[in-house]
C-alpha cells in the first residue's frame, strides 16, 4: 500500500498518546523504521529493535518538544536502539555486498574509451514520475527492486530521497562516513535508474 500524500499526524494528539493518532503514526512509519534498523542490525533482530523502539517512542511522546521533526526524532530513537544492541553484542555493522549495483546501466560498453557516451541514454516515453507510477507493472517492478537493494543502500535512499534528511544526519544515524553515505546513495539511485530505464526500453521488468 502506497501512501501518496502522507498527512502529518496531529502532534497535540500524539503528545496526549491518543490511540488513533499513534496507530496512524505506526502505519506510516513502521516500514521505514524497519529499513533503518536493518541497515544496522541483522534482519531477525531488526523487528525486535523496532518493536521496542515503538514502546520508547510511545512513552516519550508527551515530552516530544518538536525541536526536530517527529520522523527525525523517531529515526534517531531506532538507530540508537539498533546501535545499542550492536554494542551489547560487541559487534560492528557488517554489510553483505553493500556496494552491489542492480542492472547494467553503468556497464563499460556504455562509454567509449575517451569517456564519452557510446550511444547515449535511450529515449523514454514516460517522462515524468506521475506517468511512471501510472504504469502499474513498472510500479511493481520498482517495488520489487527496492526490496532487492542491499540494506544499507536502501536505508540511505529512504532517509535521503524519501525523507529528505541531510547527509550528515544520515551519517550519524547509520554510523557511517560522508563518503560512505554518498557511495551507497549513488549506487542505490543508479540501480533504480537502471530498473526504470530497462522497462522504458523493453516494456519488461
Amino acid at each position: 500500500m502506497t501512501i501518496e500524500q502522507t498527512q502529518a499526524v496531529d502532534l497535540a494528539l500524539l503528545r496526549a498518546q491518543d490511540h488513533g493518532a499513534f496507530t496512524q503514526l505506526v502505519q506510516q512509519y513502521h516500514g521505514q523504521l524497519l529499513v533503518v534498523a536493518r541497515a544496522i542490525v541483522r534482519p531477525a533482530q531488526a523487528e525486535e529493535v523496532v518493536q521496542e523502539a515503538w514502546v520508547s517512542i510511545f512513552r516519550a511522546l508527551p515530552k516530544f518538544e518538536g525541536r526536530s521533526s517527529i520522523k527525525t526524532w523517531m529515526f534517531t530513537i531506532v538507530s540508537n536502539a539498533a546501535k545499542g544492541k550492536l554494542r551489547k553484542e560487541n559487534r560492528e555493522i557488517t554489510w553483505d555486498d553493500a556496494e552491489r549495483v542492480l542492472g547494467d546501466y553503468l556497464s563499460e560498453d556504455r562509454f567509449k574509451s575517451d569517456g564519452h557516451w557510446s550511444s547515449g541514454p535511450v529515449n523514454w516515453h514516460m517522462e515524468s514520475p506521475d506517468r511512471i507510477l501510472e504504469e502499474s507493472q513498472l510500479k511493481q517492478c520498482i517495488e520489487k527492486n527496492l526490496a532487492l537493494l542491499p540494506d544499507a543502500q536502501r536505508a540511505v535512499f529512504l532517509l535521503r530521497d524519501v525523507e529528505q534528511q541531510p547527509l550528515d544526519t544520515i551519517c550519524n544515524m547509520l554510523g557511517i562516513t560522508n563518503s560512505n553515505a554518498r557511495v551507497l546513495l549513488h549506487r542505490a539511485r543508479v540501480s533504480l535508474l537502471s530498473v526504470v530505464d530497462h522497462y522504458q526500453e523493453t516494456g519488461q521488468c
Binding site: 502506497t2 502505519q27 507510477l133
Partner: protein
C-alpha cells in the same frame, strides 16, 4: 574537461550540492554542451522521484493496529 563518464559518476554529488563551486561550474558547462548528459540527468531525477514515491510505503492497517495495541498494553 569533464567526460560524460564523470558526469554520471558525480551526478548524485551534483544533485546533493556536494560539489565545490568550481566543480559545479565545470559540471554545468558540460551539461550545456552535451545533450546525452542532459538526458541522463533528466532521467536520473525522474527515476529517483518515482522510486521515492514507491518507497513511501505504509504498513497495512491491521498490522499497524496490532503493534499499536501491544505497545499501549506494555506502557
Amino acid at each position: 574537461m569533464l567526460k560524460c563518464k564523470d558526469i554520471v559518476a558525480r551526478s548524485s554529488d551534483y544533485l546533493d550540492g556536494e560539489l565545490t563551486s568550481w566543480a559545479r561550474i565545470n559540471y554545468r558547462v558540460h551539461l550545456m554542451m552535451c545533450t546525452h548528459c542532459r538526458r541522463y540527468l533528466r532521467h536520473f531525477r525522474i527515476a529517483i522521484q518515482a522510486a521515492a514515491r514507491v518507497a513511501r510505503t505504509g504498513t497495512d492497517p491491521v498490522t499497524a493496529e496490532q503493534i499499536s495495541e501491544s505497545v499501549q498494553r506494555n506502557s
